[in-house]
Every structure is written in structure tokens, then in C-alpha cells.
């Protein structure tokens, strides 16, 4: 199968918010086509990094996707799944249709129904989305993120606090779209999930990338003592 090139290049990325230096001179090049995980303790800057990649933060430095500087045109080829799913106050199907209509996607109703089937929500098409359970809402958010056929998708702890069924559906969907050429950047705290799905892993601590490696090498040996402690489940300060 033809796979499109998905290179993310971050150079000297700095992010300052409310006088806090949240991201400190991040330099990384992500070339793999599989799922890249970003892990690290709370406050490490993982969320701010992916928000920056999606143009949600005003940054200093350079972010390039396939040698093209981040722009509105590029953001149109991206999607973001937030940790707390943001749900429109309308039906499940309408939650997808609004965005596909805005992007003028052809056969949007048929495609929306297919995506809802993919995340096992086909029985809830006309149900008010706010009445779904937490796991169902997150699956809806994932289906919605896929309505625009993104080349890059960023997920901020989408399976945190979810039941095994919802987590499983999300994981399977991500593996499927990843195989079809969508680059997935996934924030997680679940080490077992990282082992199951990751192609490569970024470890962050205090606004810096301490480790970036292929998943096998990442778990085999760690350059940083922080990474080692995190994997072993020890408290990192």
C-alpha cells in the first residue's frame, strides 16, 4: 500500500504562558509512520507540545510538516482529540455533519455514518450527544476528528479513565488509520498501552524532551534516569 510521507520537524520550539516557560527549546524530528507516543509526568509539557503542533498555541520557533511551515492550510489536514471531549449540543450524527459540511466534504452523511460505525456508535445516530457516557463521547470525538480525513491526528490522553471496551475500540481505530497513512501522535500515561501501540516514544520532563527512540530501544535502555524511574513507576519530582 502507498504510504504518504509524514515528517514532523520541530526546531527551537519555545512556549511561554503566563510568564511560565512551558516548552524549552524543543528540537525533534519525527519520521516514523506509526503511532508516536508522548509520555511523561504531569506538567511535563506534553499537552502544550501537541497543542502547539495543532496551532492552538502562540509559539517561538519552527514547526514543519513535510518541510512546510505550520500554517492554516496545514492545520486543515490535522485533527485534535482533547482529553475532555468537547461535544456540540446536538445529536451524535450532527456532531460529525457540522464539521464535514463546513469543510464541504462530499457524501458527508454517508461518511459520517461509516465513521460512527467504526467507533461502534451506529446505534446512537440521533441520540443527543450530551447523554452519551464518557467513553462513548470520546469515541464520538475520535470519529469526528476523522471526518476531515486528517493526515496528522493528535490525541491528548483519549483513553484516560475509560472502560476497557471504549479503550479497545479507540486503540483498534487508531491502528487502522495509522496503517492507512495517518500519522498519529498520542499522549498517554499508560505504559502498557505504549508497549501495545507505539512505533516510537518521546519522554518529556519539565518542558524538555529527554528521550526519543524506537519503542523497543526505548524500553530496552534509557539515557535519562528520569525516564527509567518513570517506566518503573517511581515518583519523579
Amino acid at each position: 500500500m502507498f504510504k504518504q510521507e509524514n515528517i514532523i520537524e520541530i526546531t527551537d520550539l519555545n512556549l511561554v504562558k503566563h510568564s511560565d516557560n512551558i516548552l524549552k527549546k524543543i528540537n525533534v524530528q519525527i519520521k516514523s509512520n506509526g503511532i508516536t507516543f508522548i509520555i511523561g509526568p504531569n506538567g511535563a509539557g506534553k499537552t502544550q507540545l501537541v497543542r502547539s503542533l495543532n496551532g492552538l498555541e502562540k509559539i517561538n520557533g519552527s514547526i514543519k510538516f513535510n518541510n512546510e511551515e505550520l500554517s492554516k492550510k496545514l492545520i486543515l489536514r490535522q485533527s485534535f482529540v482533547f482529553q475532555q471531549p468537547i461535544i456540540l449540543k446536538r445529536s451524535v450524527l450532527e456532531n460529525l455533519i457540522f464539521f464535514s459540511k463546513c469543510r464541504k466534504i462530499k457524501n458527508h452523511i454517508k461518511k459520517s455514518k461509516e465513521l460512527l460505525k467504526l467507533v461502534k456508535l451506529e446505534d446512537f445516530l440521533n441520540k443527543p450527544a450530551l447523554t452519551l457516557s464518557g467513553g462513548q463521547k470520546q469515541r464520538l470525538a475520535l470519529a469526528r476528528a476523522l471526518t476531515t480525513n486528517p493526515q496528522f491526528i493528535f490525541l491528548d490522553e483519549p483513553t484516560a479513565h475509560l472502560d476497557p471496551l471504549s479503550s479497545n475500540i479507540i486503540e483498534k481505530t487508531l491502528l487502522k488509520i495509522s496503517k492507512n497513512g495517518t500519522k498519529v501522535i498520542f499522549i498517554s500515561h499508560d505504559i502498557n498501552q505504549v508497549r501495545r501501540l507505539a512505533e516510537d516514544v518521546i519522554f518529556m520532563h519539565k518542558g524538555k524532551i529527554l528521550e526519543f527512540n524506537n519503542v523497543k530501544r526505548f524500553f530496552k535502555s534509557q539515557k535519562s534516569s528520569y525516564t527509567k524511574s518513570f517506566i518503573e513507576g517511581k515518583i519523579i519530582i
Partner: protein, 235 residues
């Protein structure tokens, strides 16, 4: 108590005999209030949405100013509209003074701040909720505004009813610019004021009862709409 009892019995007779004068007053009240409400919604909702999601200098000042306009004294509005529409005023040539149109203008000025300010507060909360999602999907401002207005429909409907309540119960402005002319600009509130001053309490009481019923109905309707929104899971 006899006066009250007499007034009540006469007022019920008037209501249930479908008195033609009473119906005319009710019809004009509804027409003026609904028309001014419609114009206020057309101006107030986009204004509220623009202020809710807009980021520009003096935005906070304009929001605060709009909020303070909610408490505009109707007689002052009536006086200003009167000055503009009187023969010597800038719009005197239109000949609108002492017509239902002048009453619509005065009521519209009174309701726009209510619709604009309350919708701004509702849509601002929704914007906080949706902002990141819409930015991530690169949603245009016009598309965002239409989504906000649709998703906040249950809350905005209560704003509409609040505006209607203000319009239908307003007396100070419409009496100044309308003149309370029989068969032309006499509405419920101005008729109540006039009939009371004349000592004709039965018609005043009949109109008062209807006004109270309208007000109660609006409040029950607001509660019902909110309940429907919650039951359906859209609020």
C-alpha cells in the same frame, strides 16, 4: 372590597364577552411588542454573538455599556425618541410620532440591550467551551456564530421571552411616543394607566388580569422550554 369585587366581575364580563375595544387593544399590544421583538432579535443576537467571540479594543467597555443599557429608564428612551420624531426633530419629516411605528422604535431601543447582553453572556460561555475545537477544525467565524446560535437555542429562547416580557409590560416610553390615542396607539399598559386615572377600574382590571396572565404564561413557558431542553439532553 366592593370596588375590587365589582371591578373583577366587570373585567371577567369584558374578557368573556370578547369586547371589541379590548380585543383591539390586545391586538395592537401584541403587534407592537412582537414586531419590536423581531427587530431586536435580528439586531441583538448577531450583536451578542459578535461581542461574545470578538476580540477587539474596547470590547469589554462595549459589553459593560450594553449591560448598563438593560436598565434604561423607559421614559428617558420615550423622551429621546419623541425629540427625534417630533416636527422640529431630525426625523420629524417622517411623521411617525403618535403612530404604532414610533412605539415599535421606542420598544426596540429598550429590548436590544436585553437581547444583546443576555445572548452575549450565554454565547460567551459556549465560546469558552467550543473555542479550541473550532480553532482546531479551522472553523470560520460566521460558521462558529451559526453553531453557537443553534446550540444555545434553548437558552436563547428564554432570552426572547424575557425581551417579549419587557416589551409587553412597558408603559413609559410608549405613552410618550404613542400618545395613547384611542383606536390608534392604545395598548394594554397605556390603557390601564388611562382607565385607572379616569376611575374606570373594570377595563383597567381586565387589562391587568390579561397582562398578568401573559406574564405568567411567559414564565411557565420559559420553565417548560428549559425542561424540554434538559429532557432531550440538549442543555
Amino acid at each position: 372590597m366592593d370596588i375590587f369585587g365589582d371591578a373583577f366581575s366587570k373585567s371577567f364580563n369584558l374578557i368573556f364577552s370578547f369586547d371589541i375595544d379590548l380585543i383591539e387593544i390586545l391586538y395592537l399590544s401584541a403587534k407592537v411588542s412582537l414586531f419590536s421583538l423581531l427587530i431586536s432579535c435580528v439586531i441583538g443576537f448577531p450583536l451578542g454573538a459578535f461581542l461574545a467571540i470578538g476580540k477587539f479594543p474596547l470590547r469589554n467597555f462595549i459589553v459593560a455599556f450594553l449591560n448598563s443599557l438593560m436598565g434604561l429608564p423607559p421614559v428617558v428612551v420615550g423622551l429621546i425618541v419623541y425629540l427625534y420624531l417630533s416636527r422640529s426633530g431630525p426625523f420629524g419629516f417622517l411623521g411617525l410620532l403618535y403612530t404604532p411605528s414610533a412605539m415599535v422604535i421606542a420598544q426596540t431601543i429598550l429590548i436590544i440591550p436585553i437581547i444583546g447582553s443576555l445572548s452575549c453572556q450565554i454565547l460567551e460561555d459556549l465560546d469558552k467551551e467550543y473555542k479550541d475545537l473550532f480553532k482546531s477544525f479551522v472553523i470560520k467565524r460566521s460558521q462558529a456564530i451559526s453553531a453557537y446560535l443553534y446550540d444555545a437555542r434553548y437558552s436563547l429562547f428564554t432570552v426572547v421571552l424575557a425581551g417579549f416580557g419587557r416589551a409587553v409590560s412597558e408603559v413609559g416610553a410608549v405613552i410618550i411616543v404613542g400618545g395613547n390615542i384611542d383606536h390608534l396607539t392604545r395598548v394594554m399598559t397605556t390603557a390601564i394607566a388611562l382607565e385607572t386615572s379616569k376611575g374606570e377600574l373594570s377595563l383597567a382590571m381586565a387589562l391587568g388580569i390579561i397582562l398578568l396572565l401573559v406574564s405568567l404564561s411567559i414564565n411557565f413557558f420559559v420553565v417548560w422550554i428549559k425542561h424540554i431542553g434538559k429532557v432531550k439532553g440538549y442543555v
